[in-house]
């Protein structure tokens, strides 16, 4: 295993020697990585490789058993998603995690409603939330009929767009996306990937977990593979190719371009 390095210069988030045990099971063992502002990092790995455990640690749902997270070079510990959000780390879930019975604008500000504070409550300013949501969606070039549409009436791609809008509504520094295209119709995939690229242009760091080589090779700058809970391989995108990455997922190195693994994705 690689020894723990000095802080990577310019890294927004750095994970050092992260391990996570569930009883006798080791889900993650000494995982290291970093991601810089405006960088899109792809994380690949087979089922059970530890991808989702890692993402849950980053978003504050789990605490690591060992290791350290550095945010802007400063050690951080999150007791819950709210604390990670306060630092600007947002998560986009595979199932979008939207309340279908609520309109778009309420989903975007759920848990962070604009309005006047009144003790433990906020008196929600619905008009302001609608306006803010509309402006924010415009900035992201997301088009919906109305911010008053309920989330359950949207297509998969629109829901994903709303989930991304929610993740970026409060000056996000890092957006983590779990299988961002898995639940989408094919024609919607491109739009969501372009949205990810536009986040990158706004200087947001993005981590994408995906099985789809097309997604990884369309919008990532760097790809990293986990295998059985540990770092397996990592490379800038221009220094690798599909078949090599597919090989990493299966735990083999040095696959040639010629190997016909393309049908696997």
């Amino acid at each position: 295993m690689e020894p723990v390095r000095d802080s990577s210069p310019g890294a927004l988030l750095e994970a050092r020697g992260i391990s996570k045990y569930f009883g006798a099971i080791t889900a993650l063992h000494n995982v290291n990585f970093h991601v810089a502002p405006g960088e899109v990092l792809g994380v690949v790995g087979d089922n059970g490789a530890g991808k989702s455990t890692l993402m849950k640690i980053l978003s504050g749902l789990f605490a690591p058993s060992e290791g350290q997270l550095l945010f802007n070079g400063e050690p951080v510990r999150f007791s819950g998603p709210k604390e990670a959000q306060r630092r600007g780390i947002e998560m986009v879930y595979q199932d979008f995690a939207l309340a279908g019975n609520l309109p778009i604008y309420e989903n975007i500000y759920l848990g962070r409603e604009p309005g006047r504070k009144l003790g433990p409550l906020t008196l929600v300013d619905h008009a302001k939330a609608r306006r803010m949501a509309g402006e924010h969606l415009d900035r992201l070039h997301i088009h919906v009929k109305s911010v008053d549409q309920n989330a359950e009436d949207l297509s998969g791609g629109q829901r994903q767009a709303v989930a991304i809008a929610r993740a970026t509504a409060f000056d996000a520094k890092l957006v983590i996306m779990d299988e961002p295209t898995a639940a989408l119709a094919i024609k919607e995939v491109g739009k969501v990937l372009d949205l990810i690229k536009s986040l990158k242009q706004h200087g947001v760091a993005v981590i994408i977990i995906s099985h789809r080589m097309d997604d990884i090779f369309y919008c990532c700058d760097r790809v990293m593979a986990l295998y059985q809970g540990s770092n397996f391989a990592e490379a800038p995108l221009d220094a690798t190719h599909r078949n090599e990455v597919i090989g990493w997922i299966m735990g083999t190195k040095g696959h040639e371009e010629a190997l016909a693994h393309d049908q696997l994705h």
Partner: protein
Amino acid sequence: MTNSTDQSEASGFNMAKFLETYGILIVVLVMMLVLAAIRPDVFLSAQNLTNILKQNASLALLALGMLVVIITAGIDLSVGSTMALSMVTIAIASRAGVPWPLVLLIGPAVGLAVGWVNGVGLTWLRLPHPFIMTLGTLNIARGLTFLVTDGAPVSGLQPEVRYLGQAYYDFGIFAPPAGLPASLIVVAACAIALWFFLTRTSMGRHIYAIGGNPHAARVSGINVDGVLVVVYMICGFFAGLAGLLLAGRTDSGFPNAGIGIELDAIAAVIIGGASFFGGRGTVLGVLAGVLIMGILRNGLNINNVSAFWQQILIGLVIIIAVYIDVLRRRASLRH
């Protein structure tokens, strides 16, 4: 997009939306018109209308509390027993000479306590469904009610304690015993406060979010367990207040009060258009649901239809109301 939002707001009248919100009030009006046509002398008399309002005040409060619980996809079976427990504690305290301002607080306090137990049992003990926890407290609260009264009614309350349940204002126009009941004002104040809470405050919105998708609520940083405890306490509070009104109206605390009334409260909420699977339901709908059941019972009573038929008809109304809702949702999905 923002522009289209403004357009949809500017486009103004939307028939489907209007019917969804106010359609149920039209049902109430039609029922009243039909009854007024059949028995104009009796149904529309000030005394009869006063009666309908007074008799259904406690049910309205129970249903408002039940609405909050049902929005979270929960259920509270204990409200009838909680109401009875509140009622007999009020009666006993009042007889024991406790100062009346304190007695007034006892009812809601008993309700809050039972609600707290329900909420905590549900969230800390991780019981699989609120049906089970509240089925437990239904029996416990009813048992306590019989225990403290020895099974016998306690009557003779202080006039101040009876006031909210019994008083009415005739404004010099109505002949007694007709008039605007004080209990109606209590129900109206509760309904407005609850409407404001559910639609205008963050916690109200979180209650809807929990009903729609608890996972989404959790990852949005909402303390789902904390909100659920508050939800069951709100429901308990309303049950306690319902006990105060009923104690006032009947001038007693009788331990058999409200047996099975939780099912009426659930029926009113469902007739009022709330979804049993959570996330959907309005205060206005619930009030209409209570009125539909109340007017139906009253209409059958004044037409001398037997109580047995009443029960059958109420059952049919529940099924038809929900079926109309199913049809409406299926139609709206097609668009």
